[in-house]
Amino acid sequence: MPSRRAFLAGAAATLAVPTSGWAALGDPAYLAAARRDDGTHALHGLSAEGQILFARPLPGRGHAAAAHPTRPEAVAFARRPGVFAVVLNCADGHAEATLEAAPGRHFYGHGVFSRDGATLFTTENDLDTLQGRIGIWDASAGYARVGDIASGGIGPHDIARLPDSDVLVVANGGIATHPDSGREPLNLATMRPNLAYLTAEGGVIETQELDAALRLNSIRHLALRADGLVAAAMQWQGADDAAPPLVLTHRRGEAPRLLSAPDAVHRRMRNYAGSVGFSRDGTRLAITSPRGAQTQVFDTAEGRFLRTSRLPDVCGLAPGAEGFLVTNGQGVVAQLGDRQTVLTRHPGLSWDNHLIALG
């Protein structure tokens, strides 16, 4: 996730940065899409305490969002296989631009801005080849399509950027899908997900695959720590009785490290991690499972399992004051440290998969 604060701190030294326009909106700490009771969808700005600061309608179900580093602008992505992404001016809710997937493409639901905020990168599916692509958009010129590069795999889902650099990290989930056959995986026989590091020009710097025995473990979501440590969450597509690890950490040039709770506790995740995130101080990392109704927390340095906390339909996860903030499909925003406490409950809202930290 791009860190606005880190960006501002870094940029301030070299150039004059305009005051962040997010301040006018009450300085939201998080963005999250939600379904409302009437079936409509909206992108919400949340305070650090989980209060709703603004809500901007979306044309359909959202998935994740990417926040511009300086402008109060968020790109809300439709969930896959969506063909729209809306650039919302969060100050007044108007759509500054709408990104339409190029012909023969659809979005996967995630995107990230370049370090200077001038470029937006989006994960896409090429419907002719079913190869993963990264779409490139000019955020300084009305989000014109500039071009695209290979994602380094199939089914790229989440995308992030290494801190203080323009190296992109892509979770190539490995699953080929085509809207004609819905969300059905078309390549289980050959599926091979990876974690790819790319330059903005399309050079593949490094690719990490899991052992062949774990090739059905779809690498889907990412979190980055300020020092460049990557955490990735997986979703198992194999047999139910296997229960492979659902989260890894990786540092460029090293081997990935797989983390999991003791077997019985681990199995409660039901082979599915929906989001991954680091605690605010980076010492812990967590994964959520809406299917298992829990969030499992690990010690980042040791890779040791620390605790599991139950919350029905939990999925959204981001750094918070006590460690983490989590959201669920029943409108709950809860704080998770040594203990989990509900901060707010928004009746009639179902928070969607991801909670995006702005700071």
Binding site: D37, R220, A264, Y272, P290, R291, P312, D313, G329, D338
Partner: protein, 338 residues
């Protein structure tokens, strides 16, 4: 300690094979499990607080007995960790455990050594750290040698009275919140903002059941078990008052009663779950080890691990059999992941 008796003697009516609607199941659990449970917690904590006014000596057997009875009532409802228990931080105000950083003894010591005036009024005491409130703090005040010999008898007496009064206050609030509001929100799910459907209310109750099972597996049993090489008997719940195994039993009995109210007769689901509960409860009753000290011996460790496995089997059956049999749908995110 008096023998365990099933305090939920209310008849659990056999469901006689008829399919029960979700609102009926919700109402039955609320009326026959939740409300009586919180009513018992209210009355037992009232007895405890009243007694403490007259008798605050930590060695008093009457006081210790009242503490035990009230704690029993809490363990029987501690899995219902949603709604009123979620509000106002009440869950932690009653139950600050596990306490990995030793905050309970530290907070108590700080109050005692400072002769903190917070004990003088209920309002003030409600603002002290949750680590110094609730049943686990009271256990330290009644059973921990170090705390019992810290500061003055007068102040510790006032602190025992403040803690018990505060526990009763919280229990009263819980009972009231359930009786005058939350029970109806669950019964009338679909007509309110809190529960949009009976399905959602039922899912919440099942979440409570799962929470109780997981808490028992991971914490009540898992903590003292540690690993075979490194067992951790000193982390057993409420070991100072000799209640670790008792809590496992109380929790299982209460969860068994709750499950029996939900499980439909069809396809042998109710029967299978009842048998799994019986197996775990029998195993627990046969353990002659109130605070799990035997985890340090190979045989003891295996026996307690076996109990843990039996509770895990119940948990598995809840996911595999009970939830599907109740026709409970998955949540917004669980249903449609990405």
């Amino acid at each position: 300690m008096r023998p365990l008796i099933l305090s939920f003697c209310l008849a659990v009516l056999p469901l006689s094979g008829t399919a029960q609607s979700q609102p009926e199941v919700v109402a039955r659990v609320v009326d026959q499990h939740v409300l009586p449970g919180f009513a018992a917690l209210e009355s037992e904590t009232a007895v405890l607080a009243d007694l403490a006014i007259r008798d605050c000596n930590p060695f008093s057997s009457a006081l210790r007995r009242a503490y035990g009875t009230a704690f029993d009532a809490w363990i029987r409802v501690s899995h219902l960790a949603f709604g009123p228990l979620e509000d106002e931080n009440r869950l932690f105000a009653l139950s600050f455990w596990p306490d990995e950083r030793g905050m309970t003894p530290r907070s108590l010591e700080r109050l005692i050594l400072a002769n903190d005036f917070a004990v003088e009024s209920q309002q003030e005491f409600a603002t002290v750290s949750v680590a110094a409130r609730g049943f686990y703090a009271l256990e330290f005040l009644l059973y921990d040698q170090r705390i019992i010999s810290t500061g003055s008898d007068e102040y510790r007496c006032a602190l025992v009275q403040a803690v018990t009064r505060d526990i009763h206050q919280t229990a009263q609030e819980l009972d009231l919140a359930w009786r005058t509001g939350f029970a109806d929100l669950m019964r009338n799910a679909g007509d309110n903002d809190r529960f949009h459907s009976a399905d959602e209310a039922l899912r919440t109750l099942l979440g409570g059941l799962n929470h109780g099972l997981e808490y028992t597996i991971d914490l009540r049993l898992g903590r003292p078990l540690g690993t075979f090489e490194a067992p951790r008997p000193l982390t057993a719940e409420a070991r100072r008052s000799g209640r670790s195994l008792r809590h496992v039993l109380l929790a299982l009995q209460s969860l068994d009663q709750m499950t029996a109210l939900m499980a439909p007769d069809k396809d042998g689901v109710a029967e299978r779950l009842a048998a799994l509960f019986a197996s775990a409860i029998t195993r627990a009753q046969l353990l002659d080890d109130p605070v799990f000290v035997s985890v340090t011996e190979p045989e003891g460790h295996l026996r307690i691990e076996d109990l843990q496995r039996r509770v895990s089997d119940i948990h598995d059956a809840v996911q595999a059999d009970l939830i599907p049999a109740l026709g409970v749908g998955a949540g917004f995110n669980a249903l449609d992941g990405d």
